[in-house]
């Protein structure tokens, strides 16, 4: 019993080390033995996923501070230590990460043939970095992990992406994010030079002057805004999503976009509360323009993946609207919408990946009438399209509703404009679904149709279940967040 409690206390370190050990194990397996590689990768990621569920089971819902904390001394000279801990906000992101990487590896079972070993190692290393981002409580190490995610993602887009514009997409992705993030590095260095520490729990107690807060908030915002992605810096997203392989798009949409919002809620809001309040009009403007502009742009696209990429932008901007509403309802709605978007957008990318694997084209015009020949696929597609729109019964509706309620307290005009985003969401989603599923089969282009096989059914099913449960009984997801979000908002002194 005691050993089990020791195991639970250190579960975050175990979670961090399993992907690394898995990738180390993969290095020893010869690259011609593809089956063994795939099974070892699968076992590693499923083990990580099951262990992350332990986080949920043993989570104490009645306290808002950090749980499962641990500290490794690393560089005492710089006062830089490897402090980990989660609270209600980060727990679900970790579970989302592990689940999505597991599904990613399953979804690329047959589609990745060359350099499979490096592909799996890249994913496992990225899993390590992602779990690190969500669980680390040290500002500089958060930055290190935040940036380190770029390296495996750049390799995944560049090596295994589709043929046409992958190099350009890789450059866009890397350089846009890097340019935003270096300003955050300067902000972190400034904080370190003024306070002498980058430990998050200590920084929560420091007060910065208003002028300092404004400049630091802007520096941090540059980085997070590029990751979210917000309006003028969103151009990398459609490129990167379209050119990445299916699993790459899934993890990009599912988890990497959440890094920006997680950073905002974890660092920008608590550390610089007055500046956040000061800059809320700016954020709202950019977010609302983002929602409406990208929704309109999505209507005009002809590439299946690009439409879903633009919907990701719109949804994440809605999350930002909710997050800056400074009340419990809005922030919890933002977090729930992030989670649900993680499920829905990933599943939509998986859906496109299924058809892409069969027919190797992403153009909408080649598809039509798939409901006649692929009925189970169409059921999934319909459900996730409805989730994308925000139909009641799916998690997106709860998220959007809570966000709009929360932001109504602050500013009714913004709520009105964001709500029109929901309507536009319906517009392009239904157009897309209609074009692909209904109508006549386009046999002049495609002749051979196969419905979902067992593996594809399995990878979509947990996401389906998650979205449904989130829509029908969201308290399961909202309850662990209550105390942490309340603590965060109370400490903001507004």
């Amino acid at each position: 019993m005691l050993k089990f409690m020791v195991f639970i206390d250190n579960i975050l370190f175990i979670l961090l080390s399993i992907p690394l050990l898995g990738s180390l194990l993969l290095l020893f397996i010869p690259s011609w033995d593809k089956n063994l590689l795939k099974y070892v990768g699968l076992v590693t990621t499923s083990l990580t996923f099951i262990l992350s569920l332990f986080l949920w089971v043993f989570f104490d819902k009645s306290i808002g501070t950090f749980q499962f904390t641990g500290k490794l001394f690393w560089v005492p000279y710089l006062n830089l230590n490897f402090t980990v801990g989660i609270d209600g906000i980060s727990m679900f992101f970790i579970i989302l990460t592990t689940l999505l990487i597991f599904i990613c590896l399953l979804s690329s079972w047959n589609s990745v043939n060359h350099n499979l070993k490096e592909y799996l190692i890249a994913f496992l290393v990225m899993e390590f970095f992602l779990i690190g981002v969500f669980s680390i409580l040290d500002l500089l190490l958060f930055y290190v992990f935040f940036e380190s995610v770029l390296i495996p993602m750049y390799l995944i887009i560049g090596v295994w992406g589709s043929r046409e514009r992958k190099i350009r997409a890789g450059y866009f992705f890397f350089l846009y994010t890097l340019l935003g993030s270096v300003l955050m590095l300067l902000g972190i260095i400034y904080i370190y030079s003024k306070t002498g520490t980058t430990d998050y729990e200590i920084l929560l107690t420091t007060l910065f002057s208003l002028k300092e807060q404004k400049l630091l908030w802007l520096a941090f915002f540059m980085s997070f805004a590029t990751k979210v992605p917000m309006m003028p810096a969103h151009i990398w997203l459609p490129e990167a999503h379209v050119e990445a392989p299916t699993a790459g798009s899934v993890i990009l949409a599912g988890v990497l976009l959440k890094l920006g919002t997680y950073g905002l809620i974890r660092f920008s809001l608590p550390l610089f509360p007055e500046a956040s309040f000061f800059f809320t009009p700016l954020v709202y403007t950019i977010a609302v323009i983002g929602i409406i502009y990208t929704s309109f742009t999505a209507i005009r696209q002809t590439d299946f993946k690009r439409i879903i990429a633009y919907t990701s932008v719109a949804h994440m901007n809605l999350v930002i609207v909710g997050m800056f509403s400074f009340n419990c309802i809005g922030v919890e709605g933002a977090l729930l919408q992030s989670l649900s978007h993680g499920f829905v957008a990933s599943s939509l990318f998986l859906i496109i990946g299924i058809v892409y694997e069969r027919h190797h084209t992403r153009m909408v015009k080649y598809y039509g009438g798939l409901a006649h020949v692929m009925p189970i696929y169409t059921i999934y597609f319909l459900f996730f399209t409805m989730a994308n729109i925000g139909l009641p019964g799916t998690g997106s509706f709860i998220g959007e509703f809570l966000i709009l309620t929360g932001s109504y307290y602050l500013n009714t005009t913004v709520t009105f404009f964001s709500a029109t985003g929901m309507v536009l969401g319906g517009c392009y989603s239904l157009w897309l679904f209609n074009r692909i599923s209904y109508g006549n089969l386009k046999t002049q282009y495609l002749t051979h149709f196969v419905d979902l096989n067992y593996r594809e059914f399995i990878i979509l099913f947990p996401l389906f279940l998650g979205t449904l449960i989130m829509g029908v009984y969201p308290s399961i997801f909202l309850e662990p967040m209550h105390m942490s979000v309340n603590l965060l908002l109370e400490n903001m002194n507004i």
Binding site: Y77, Y143, V144, S148, G158, Y171, L175
Partner: protein, 506 residues
């Protein structure tokens, strides 16, 4: 027993004397053997003996009786402290690895004179003397010794037009800068009457703002400032910072790569040690006279190095321009004038040299399969088939490039972050913002190389010879020594802290 050892240590510079004498023996050995009736090519022998001499030099140097202030020897012109010890050990170990790596290159390029290695050893002797000099004339002599050896090393491929051009350019511009240096030194002698760095420190430290208001500062510092500018210009010229950098891409690219590895990796250390001795130690009181000049030059160097490298098509020029921008970063932290400035200078320099060693050794070890084996200057596109020919080397190259770009979680990121930390603490905000934006630009051309390595599936490209026996050892040992630094970077900080204490011993 104890007594005789103390006498030996008080004489000083035992290891350099050993080095010089073994050099003379090597010259004798070489010239006697090479005039043998069978005309043997003794390149390999002399190289192995040089490696042995360097190794023994390290062993001799390790038995030192050092303290923070150091021992002043030879009428106070030579100083023997942690800084000189550290730099000598560093130079020796890196030169050892360089010599191991250039063995096959020299054979391919048909550089059949053994004098090449002797000249390399003479330049290394110049480095040693420069690192431990406490007097302006000693420093000038050491700089001249090293530079003259470098000029010959740059021009050594006598049948290549480019190499001769490189040597001539280097010679003319280098001696011009040495003349400026001498002029600065003479101005200082004229003003103060002393050439000793410790005496200059004693003279000028009270000029530091705020130390002593009561002393009558009857020193006229304008002429002194001019002298400082001359010295600074000359030394920055030798370091190839912008806007005095125009000679370095030509020289580095055209000279044989076995010489370039010494220029790019090792020459910077000794000159930077000397710069920090003069400016941080002796002329620290006049800091507000030289600080902003160095900062301006440093930021310009970062920007020039980052932007110009984008249009380079040859790998050698790319590495040259990246070294220009790295020296810019180092000088940004140096211009802060604080203790952390020197500490970060040393730490960054060490990591820069290690990464440079790794990259240049990969460059030297890759031999393109061509009819004309001498033509080894690689284009960027020559890297495209590397992943099929030697994938481990490609992975090493990638990771070292990410660290040179300053990308987390590798150690290059931590040293770069420390530089920005120093500049933020000294309130040099605009310099930090400009430098960090330039570093984003420089990341582009590093990931372009990675793109060429990994992302393109080419069918036709240049092939490489497989590596010989010892080369993988060298490349992988430097790579591992370098890659796993980020697990415990504390060693960097502690060593550079101990050395930096010299500059704060007033």
């Amino acid at each position: 027993m104890n007594n005789s050892l103390m006498i030996l240590k008080n004489i000083g510079l035992i290891s350099e004397m050993f080095f010089g004498m073994s050099l003379i023996y090597l010259i004798l050995f070489g010239s006697v053997l090479s005039t043998h009736k069978k005309y043997p090519i003794i390149q390999k022998t002399i190289l192995n003996l040089s490696i042995l001499v360097l190794f023994l030099y390290i062993l001799l140097n390790l038995n030192n009786n050092l303290s923070v202030t150091g021992n002043l020897l030879f009428n106070f012109t030579i100083i023997d402290d942690y800084l000189s010890f550290f730099s000598k050990i560093l130079i020796t170990s890196f030169c050892l690895i360089c010599l191991l790596v250039i063995k096959k290159y020299i054979k391919d390029q048909k550089v059949n004179q053994f004098e090449y290695l002797i000249i390399i050893m003479i330049s290394i002797l110049g480095f040693f003397l420069l690192c431990s000099s406490n007097d302006l004339i000693t420093a000038y002599l050491a700089i001249e010794l090293q530079s003259l050896a470098f000029y010959i090393m740059a021009a050594f491929k006598k049948d290549s037009f480019f190499s001769v051009e490189a040597g001539l350019k280097y010679f003319i511009l280098g001696s011009f800068s040495s003349a400026l240096l001498l002029f600065g030194f003479s101005l200082i002698y004229g003003l103060t009457g002393t050439l000793n760095l410790t005496d200059l420190k004693d003279l000028f430290f009270f000029l530091y703002p705020g130390i002593d208001f009561t002393t009558d500062t009857s020193f006229n510092t304008e002429l002194l400032q001019i002298a400082l500018f001359f010295i600074l210009t000359s030394l920055l010229f030798k370091l190839s910072v912008a806007p005095l950098h125009i000679w370095s891409p030509d020289v580095y690219e055209n000279s044989p790569t076995s010489s370039t590895i010494f220029f790019a990796v090792i020459s910077k250390l000794s000159i930077l040690v000397f710069i920090s001795r003069i400016f941080q130690f002796s002329f620290h009181g006049l800091i507000y006279n030289w600080r902003y000049f160095v900062l301006l030059v440093a930021v310009l160097s970062v920007i020039v190095g980052s932007f110009t490298a984008i249009s380079q098509k040859k790998l050698k020029s790319l590495l040259t321009y990246s070294s220009i921008s790295h020296i810019g970063y180092i000088l940004i932290s140096f211009s802060a004038g604080t203790f952390e400035g020197i500490q970060n200078l040393l730490a960054y320099l060490f990591i820069y040299m290690l990464a440079g060693l790794c990259v240049w050794s990969i460059f030297l070890v890759l031999r393109l399969k061509k009819f004309y084996l001498k033509k080894q200057n690689k284009d960027l596109t020559d890297m495209s088939l590397l992943i099929k020919m030697n994938s481990a080397l490609a992975i090493c190259f990638t990771i070292v490039l990410f660290s040179i770009a300053g990308f987390p979680p590798l150690v290059g990121f931590f040293t770069k972050m420390n530089i920005f930390l120093t500049s933020m603490e000294s309130s040099m905000y605009f310099a930090a913002i400009a430098a960090i934006l330039a570093s984003v630009v420089s990341t582009f051309y590093y990931i372009r190389v990675i793109k060429i390595l990994y992302f393109e599936e080419v069918i036709v490209g240049n092939l490489y010879y497989p590596l010989s026996y010892i080369e993988p050892f060298i490349v992988t040992s430097t790579f591992f020594c370098f890659m796993f630094f980020f697990i415990d970077p504390t060693y960097l900080y502690i060593i550079s802290y101990k050395i930096g204490l010299l500059f704060y011993f007033f």
